[in-house]
Symmetry: C2
Subunit: 253 residues, 2 copies
DNA sequence: GTGTAGTGCGTACGCCGTACCAACAACGTT
DNA sequence: AACGTTGTTGGTACGGCGTACGCACTACAC
């Protein structure tokens, strides 16, 4: 009796502390984060984290009810990185949204595994702050609630989708041999003649060089920016919003 | 000696068959697909698939070298669903891209787990066909190779990102109690006053109703379409492409 | 009928998350 | 200073996972 509500989110349960425990949730989360960043999300196991901390495995369960909760803490830590210091947020909605999106992109690219776990996690405090900040970026516009929501969701969708793809290219370069196998399979397929347009895209040069050219033609960040600006341009037109006036220092709207 | 190259992709290894095996890769993949669709990707285990097929677990390894390869087969099966019959592809790039994106969206929404596994998988034959078809959609434009590639990547990014988010809302309604806990946590946070803009978004009504209103204001598909059209409008302006002329039957460009 | 090699799969190993519960130690009380 | 309470630690064990290894079976060529 008087047990804690089983469905309560971890944010609503205070960290244990009446008798000075050996660890904190933050310590545990950041240990897990370090493992995920250096060895991939798959390397994050309760045994591994505990080992890293010099603790018994089951000790972690005194701070956290399940591994999913621990992942929530990791996600929330990451979301804290995407927050922009209030005084650095540009005044114009277009610039503000761009700044937020770019920062989000950079953070997620540093922790690409977060997208997988973020999916299941309901918004934690820092995710709410991110949303709040995004709304603040739109405060100067005259959009109604539904439009604001739709706009922010669309931008976030693009950011997440881009990271999903970009992260897979920037990955640990794979196996070398594996990569060769992939390229060679691609070439074999192209040779079948079933892919005339794709073949034309790689006109002349061999596929590997062409692929490298396309990849190096623009950095992942540049490609992200380009897509984002197209999206925001479409938004500005479709929602009747102003563009920032870049010719002078003034900020329209 | 004379063993198969370890790094060879599954597509390059022929299915076993000199002596009429009991199963086929297709059978195995579609069994796995059925499990994933009805019970989630986590329920897909080698033991489970084998059980479903009435086979010994290790039998699967005669058809497939690792579970990852099996997942590639699943992904490729899904990618086959997104292909549009050649004669149904609209002539104008804008309509064609919209059709491809919508179909992709619908397929991925039916198999939301695919996004997780798709990330690691190098493009299989059907993924290549999808790319080829996307290029075909742009055949009428005057974009160069780099621009085409960038455009398609951007659209795919948005589609994947949208599914990533939308799928999490349309999920199995969760726990009821769990959902209550999430809503209640949100309200508590709003009450702190740290989130004025978010609070304003839910003006008046209580948060749960407001949330429900925003969700039902537009179906996930409508919201996807809206974002996609904004993106494509931005693309059309930014890349100097024509819009389809909807007033008559003719197709510009 | 017999030999061979393609096919099926049982066993076992080392991972995983975590339920259960005994042991330990920090503190309030006396 | 001694004790009892209870917050904190973590050992053991269970049922899952992917899959390496290698033996058993059997379909077919001869």
């Amino acid at each position: 009796m008087a047990t804690v509500d089983d469905s309560a989110l971890i944010w609503t349960r205070p960290e244990p502390g009446t008798r000075r425990p050996k660890f904190t949730r933050d310590q545990i989360a950041s240990t897990a984060l370090a493992i995920a960043d250096t060895e991939g999300f798959a390397a994050v196991s309760m045994r591994r984290i505990a080992g890293e901390l010099g603790a018994g495995t089951m000790t972690l369960y005194y701070y956290v009810r399940t591994k999913d909760e621990l992942v929530m803490l990791m996600d929330d830590a990451i979301m804290s990185e995407v927050l922009i210091p209030a005084d650095e947020l540009p005044a114009h909605w277009y610039d503000a949204l761009t700044a937020i999106a770019e920062r989000t992109w950079q953070v997620l690219m540093r922790h690409p595994w977060a997208l997988h776990s973020l999916q299941r996690a309901p918004a934690g405090p820092n995710a709410m702050r991110h949303f709040e900040q995004s709304l603040a970026a739109l405060a100067g516009t005259e959009l109604d609630a539904t439009a604001k929501f739709a706009l922010l969701a669309t931008v976030d969708d693009y950011v997440h989708g881009n990271v999903l793809r970009a992260a897979e290219f920037g990955a640990p370069a794979e196996d070398e041999a594996r990569l060769d196998a992939v390229v060679q399979f691609g070439q074999t397929q192209l040779a079948t003649g079933e892919f005339p347009h794709t073949r034309a895209l790689f006109s002349g040069e061999n596929a590997q060089n062409a692929f490298a050219r396309i990849v190096r033609d623009a950095s992942p960040l540049d490609r992200f920016r380009h897509g984002l600006s197209m999206l925001l341009d479409g938004v500005a037109h479709g929602m009747n919003l102003s563009f920032p006036d870049r010719r002078r220092g003034r900020r329209a709207q």
